[in-house]
Symmetry: C2
Subunit: 140 residues, 2 copies
DNA sequence: AGACAACTTCAAGTAAACTTGAAGTCAATA
DNA sequence: TATTGACTTCAAGTTTACTTGAAGTTGTCT
């Protein structure tokens, strides 16, 4: 497969694939002239990367996971740790979601007057701050 | 309160508070000489901002929520929409968490051989890609 | 009064994860 | 064979949310 095919199959732009290769996250199996050739298992690898990203790993962390040999050899403790981290995150998000739903329904004149909302605020402030930014996806 | 007090009470560095003011997220109530003075309700506001951040809103979105009058007048539809969005996110994270736990326990030689893991991969690839980066917190 | 810690502004720097642009190469099609 | 569209590299730009540094000001304590 050439990069275009990987791109269309994975949904990732070619530039991202090149970038991932540069970062050591994927590798091309050779070249046809100048052009990279990819084995089809790169798609599985990309899925794995997507998984990692979704779980909150940085590209660096992900790269470290399967750097040595090539196939993912993630250490179990790290997985457990990440799972626990995710768990906390989930609890937070659930509180947040419920809070938002409540706020949307709450008859209090300002959300600030609502005790439930106030409790939510306390939770929010306690949290370790995580940055989350969104990709702006262009539909041009 | 001067900025130092807001900083220590909120846990946010003064630079962040200035930045938030510049972005219109908070406002100082006046100056004592050069120095900003903050009303203590700024803390509540900061909690609200933290809440928004945790819920995945960008600073711009948050600013828009209470730009008009000053007090948070978030439209209910937006809240519901965000709650739903969060909900999807949560489901995803739950799947991820379970997948990670499973992977950590799975006896399969490579996670890739494990059907559960493979299912997880499929989920991961379907997801809208969100960028999440972490604050590097310095413990100097 | 004088020192000093804490404030001020403003410009520039940082990190992550990509994207974009320019300039060039090339395999396949007409 | 000439064109073309898809690829190539490399450097530089983008976004978000801040942080850092320099240079200057000032309230407060002694």
């Amino acid at each position: 497969m050439d990069i275009g095919e990987v791109a269309s199959r994975s949904g990732l732009p070619a530039s991202t694939l090149r970038y991932y290769e540069e970062r050591g996250l994927i590798q091309s199996t050779g070249r046809h002239g100048l052009r990279r050739l990819f084995d089809k298992n790169v798609l599985e690898r990309l899925a794995l990367i997507a998984l990692g990203r979704n779980a909150g790993f940085s590209l660096g962390e992900i790269a470290a996971m399967f750097s040595a040999d090539g196939r993912p050899q993630i250490d179990r403790d790290q997985l457990f740790a990440k799972a626990d981290e995710l768990d906390k995150n989930i609890k937070q998000l659930v509180a947040m979601r419920d809070g938002l739903r409540h706020a949307a329904n709450c008859p209090a004149p300002s959300h600030l007057e609502c005790p439930k909302f106030q409790r939510l605020l306390k939770v929010a402030m306690k949290k370790p701050i995580k940055r989350r930014t969104k990709l702006t996806l262009k539909t041009e």
